[in-house]
Assembly symmetry: D3
Homo-oligomer: 314 residues x 6
């Protein structure tokens, strides 16, 4: 495949396929309609204006449509913009498919599932293990395809499972270094902490927030689900309360959506591991797009910092 849109510099000519993420109609200062297209491939997005858009254009260039496009990469108000020369819907004969333009986790679903299974197999506390199995079974399909978030980090197909597996790997190493950790509790917390997102978000492709997501949020929703699962499985005792606490407290403090801060060692660790893996995901993906000696774009979820890529980097 050609280099992705994120790697084009101002002045270069683009001549390849992209997926239409959204198409919004507007009226130009000359009174004529135009389309604002957000186009994407797996490396990023770019805006393009289709001036003097006809009724037919509106029908052709809608969300989820794959298009063949040529144009100049320009700058407008400090952001890249594609000046369209030609645009047409992709044809079957072009031999490209939409799924190649949607970013997905660097590890495939089967491998993610097998790693999950492996870790669950290692768990020794039967109550924690049974609850975890219950959820993995109940949500298996969605768990393996959902993104971990709408934006910022792991916001791609299978992002949630990839995030969970990365966190589990990190947890396993921490258990080696700090043997007092209750590994079963930490593993269970990691696997369950964000499953509320399966109900908070509307789907995989272009996820938005559900009504329940907006009014309740994934954290209280998942606290409730853990309680309900325990009742179904007839599990009682502190494991249930503490697992609910792990889910409830994993954002770290009230201002960030956790009405209780972590009050159990493994809950504190869950919060820290979540933080590290999310930050590494954001940093690595942004740094990949710049050259040594340059700064990344500002990362909103990291206090709007722009990061520097040293020139002596291996």
């Amino acid at each position: 495949m050609k280099k992705g849109i994120a790697y084009y510099n101002v002045g270069e000519i683009f001549d390849y396929y992209m997926l239409v993420k959204s198409a919004t109609k507007g009226v130009a200062s000359n009174g004529k309609p135009f389309l604002t297209l957000i186009l994407k491939d797996i490396t990023g997005e770019i805006e393009a204006k289709l001036w003097d858009a006809t009724q037919e254009d509106e029908e052709l260039f809608h969300s989820e449509q794959l298009v063949k496009i040529t144009g100049d990469v320009n700058q407008f108000r400090g952001r890249s913009q594609l000046k369209i020369h030609t645009i047409r819907p992709a044809q079957p004969t072009d031999g490209v498919k939409a799924s190649d333009f949607i970013e997905k986790a660097p590890v495939d679903k089967e491998e993610l599932m097998s790693r999950l299974t492996e870790i669950i197999f290692e768990m020794k506390n039967p109550n924690l293990q049974r609850i975890v199995r219950y959820f993995v079974k109940k949500y298996q399909d969605d768990l393996l395809t959902y993104p971990a978030a709408v934006k910022n980090h792991h916001e791609y197909v299978s992002g949630l499972a990839y995030h969970i597996v990365s966190m589990l790997n990190l947890a396993k190493q921490l258990k080696q270094l700090y043997p007092d950790i209750n590994a079963d509790l930490l593993y269970a917390g990691i696997i369950l902490h964000d499953l509320g997102k399966l109900k908070e978000l509307s789907g995989v492709a272009t996820p938005s927030y559900t009504l329940e997501g907006k009014l309740i949020g994934h954290i209280p929703m998942m606290v409730e689900e853990v309680g309900q699962a325990a009742r179904e499985l007839q599990i009682e005792g502190e494991e249930v309360t503490i697992l609910q606490h792990m889910v409830l407290s994993h954002h770290g403090k009230a201002e960030w959506g956790s009405p209780k801060a972590p009050l159990v060692r493994e809950a504190e660790l869950l919060h820290l591991i979540d933080l590290i893996d999310a930050k590494m995901n954001m940093l690595n993906r942004s740094l990949e797009k710049v050259k040594p000696g340059e700064f990344t774009e500002r990362l909103f979820a990291m206090e709007n910092r722009a990061f520097y890529k040293p020139v002596f980097d291996e």
Copy 2:
């Protein structure tokens, strides 16, 4: 009954009964043991030191014991302190009973229950009404005896029910003034909003926080219970989600323990009504204890303000 301990001035002699709230052993600078007693009646509390306490004293003067006591009211580090002259356990022949020394709501349980029933009867939305009935039935005893909080406001027997009924009265008036309000939703939110406290607190007499209360808190616990009740009653639909949202958001913002701020009109109103009724309860009870022209003690839950009682007050 004699005037309560809260109304004694420094220099006055106390000669009546009080209830021992707590008794803690210490060792004085001369090496002899002493007891620090917290004594209470329905108007307030006072600390007293029992110097040179014997083994027998320790056994006699424990928490929940009613005692006959004489002593001087003094001042120590800016707080009242009772200097004990004589102390003895109350006898059956004294004709006093512990329950007269425990503060309770100014309205009795039967009246609170009948007011609750009346309001529930007025509700027209069957889903909301059924969920409310379910909880009132399930928790009737505790609901009518629990305090609304451990300290600050309505921290007395039946305080929770009294707080709920006061809020319902206020809600009913607001419905008259702002007829767009969905009264059923508001009533349901008021009745359920703090029921999680029945599991967060350990009991009526000397309530402390349960483990679940400390690790999960009454808000997420009640969100879960509302979901569970709806499943039992086979009620589905927006009423359930919005009722959960009412409970979840009633503290008003994340820093105060509500991961979602109110996003429905009646949820916002629930938060405001809760605020007004709690504040009026704190203010009225503090102002009662001071004379016109004086300031109350500082009220921690009202940003540590001391309030002034005007001399021209009716």
Copy 3:
């Protein structure tokens, strides 16, 4: 009257009258002048660009002019915009008048005045009553026509008086529920609290801030006026100080413009009643414009929240 501009959807054709709220000249990218018109009726506002505006256009389409307009309702950068087809000044023969396009309180001036008089008549404290009468007499005309604010809540003709009367109604109910309240003090505080706005704002139709408003603000201005009135009426004593305190503290805390937080029970209530009535006004007017199942636009003065209108609303 036809449905208001706030109820038009993108794509609909508008063909009716509106009032020009402001007209600003600009120069388009093709070098030609244009006018940016803000047009309003009693339901809301919309922006419209008049391209290639002539000298004559500039003279015709100025602030306060009523116009007949046809056009398409479009979307531009997420906000509605009217694409003008035809525009002309309204004629006497059109049978429309400007006042029908300016929002006003839902209750008329006479009724507001009579409700005010009624409440003042109920007051028993002669000092408080005389000070209130002094101000109602001094400012009667402005008091009955001014808006309560430039934006956010009650920002329409007679908004201030309507806000005062709503607050008085609420205060009267609270007095029933919490009889310890000093009703005279609360009523006096409510009637006077915002009268400083009559000098802070420049007028009724298109209010802006006066120099005194910008440099001193309505709160200290009104504190001064209360003092001056008391001197004129030869009233001395605590009522004056406490009435000044009510005005001074009604924003609730220093960050919000009250150098003293409320330190008298009725001052705290005044702040809470002001909050409730302002919020109900904002919420009701925003919710009216959306359908069940939708969210309102974000309300800046309510921490930028968008509120949900339940589908099961009566």
Copy 4:
């Protein structure tokens, strides 16, 4: 005079006179009454316990009484404490007088008044000058004796006038360095900014807050007085509004009690000059009490910092 109490080290014997600032009765753990005396001279204060205090002691050793005292300077919970050997009321024959034990400004009243007069004489704007004269005449006695504050800075006799004169001196220098400054406006603002304290505080010797001081505060009280003075003097126009703005904004921001931040250059300068003079007063007086190479005690009004006195200081 002997060295002041602030300069005694732990272990030294004190044998001189001090003034009783306050005397509070308590009951010791052995059941006997004692007096806690706060004793002061012009350098500072020390606490002393008078054990086994008799009824006669209580009568002799009250606030404002000058006493002859001998004792050891000890340390208790990190603060100095005087262990009393002997104590008796001072006699006329002792040849000491109370006023020598009360701190006052390092410049006397006559000199402060003459410096004030000098500056007022330099003012050219007749409106500003007349208003300033009005206040200096109205409050002359109090203005020359009041402290500038109850604690922290210039909290001694004539502290207010001394603070004003220091600020005027600084303002005069700033006018040299930045000639655009309107000196008349700045001088008027400096002289008036804190005059509200004459009504906010109860007196000179042991000032406390008046009711008006607690409920309104010196800033809005003085804004009102400026308005009233202008009306009496029949002065109208921007000078009055801006002078009120100077007073209103001199604490710099809302959180610090100024509902409007400075919006005029000279108002900003007034705030900064006030800050510098208050800080220099606190710093110099604290540094005087420590030796080179030591840190001062923590200064509450300077964010609780302890300041270092360099060893190489001249």
Copy 5:
């Protein structure tokens, strides 16, 4: 010279020279390229669009180029914009030179240097004096030409030295008023406090941040340089530590970039003097551009306040 661009009103015709500060290429909605020029003279800047820009235009109108331009001053989105009629590069025969269009300090380099030398000559502490001399010698050229900042205050040629000299003048007056001040320490701190900017900024004309400036910042860089200088000069002792502390703490608190708040009297004064001089510079330059009775534009570095210029100003 003609009046500066900052003094033009909307509607006026501009017909004079300006310097191109930056030229950015864009593509208009009609698909044709244009240049966005930022033009400046010593009073301010204005944006201008050069539509239908040719390849030749791009080459002619680049940063640092002096141009002769005619056009209308318009308003666009609330900011001034120049509508270009004609534009051409300035010719040698025009008799204008770029340096006349770059703002510089109102006092020339020689005078600034001589004032600096004078103050250093007055210093008595040999260690402090030698360190100061070392830096003035090492950086003399840059010190006399650099701006004090990229924007906000003293952001012009020789701004740094002008700021230092103004601060020294103010310090000298303060020493008169508060004689306890260690003048040598204060002078040394003032001269050195911002010298790290010579490495933090890339140059005089169009300064940007260097990599070291972005990753380390001028404060820690200068702390290091002071240490290094002391080692080179073989100076040891508290003067070095305290001078480093002066530099380190001069932003006043951690949130503003000083990991230690001022803990020495002269460090606190340095911070305050820096504040006053920066604010006076911002205020005076903004107020100069408005007429009495008007407000300045909002000043970002002064909490976004707009300041009022009184009509009675001399």
Copy 6:
């Protein structure tokens, strides 16, 4: 060895050795001198009062003295206190040595050094490696004995080296999981980040802050040292700047003492690894002291949280 003082309950008799951490003289309410002793062993500290202390007692029981003590463990104001029965200095014949009563890292110095050497050996970037070697050689003795802090975490002998080695182990695992990490940079940052503490703290046994530590702090001091080392080693280039940035930014944000937040991936990681290792150290040591089902004491450095130890913990 007997169980440590941290494991005694109220009411138990202590009869063993402890080290005097500090001895402060006071005067009791009966006028007699007493000593407040802080006694410690490797598990914790306890306060004890030695009443009626003689001159000889003062000489015998000073800081760093090992004592044989018997007494009761009591409670005073919620803290443990030892009521002394007998106390005497330890004798050589007792066979105990002071070093057994000072907490130290669980791994010995030789092992820590060898692990450090191993990691340095793995580094490939010669500039980073040489700078690290320079510091390890220069400070070897102190580096291996200093605590990492005065309180909160790793506040024991060899705490700094133990903290560094734990962080290096964690870094090595992270490099496996996120291979993009520049391990050399991260290792160098970890080894150097806190070396400024060797100058900020006064020593190993009872560390306090040096003057330089108080006025400059370990972060800017170490930034300077890295610069100086690079000059000595004649190393130039980005490695030096970025290493200084790692040290400067490792507290994460300005409020926490880092004037620059991390702007390089490895700097962000250094901050996170530091956080995790410090938190795990605090948590593990606190949890060790409580039984399953209990909460730890409140941990000041973890937002004052008390952590729960689950009963089902392995």
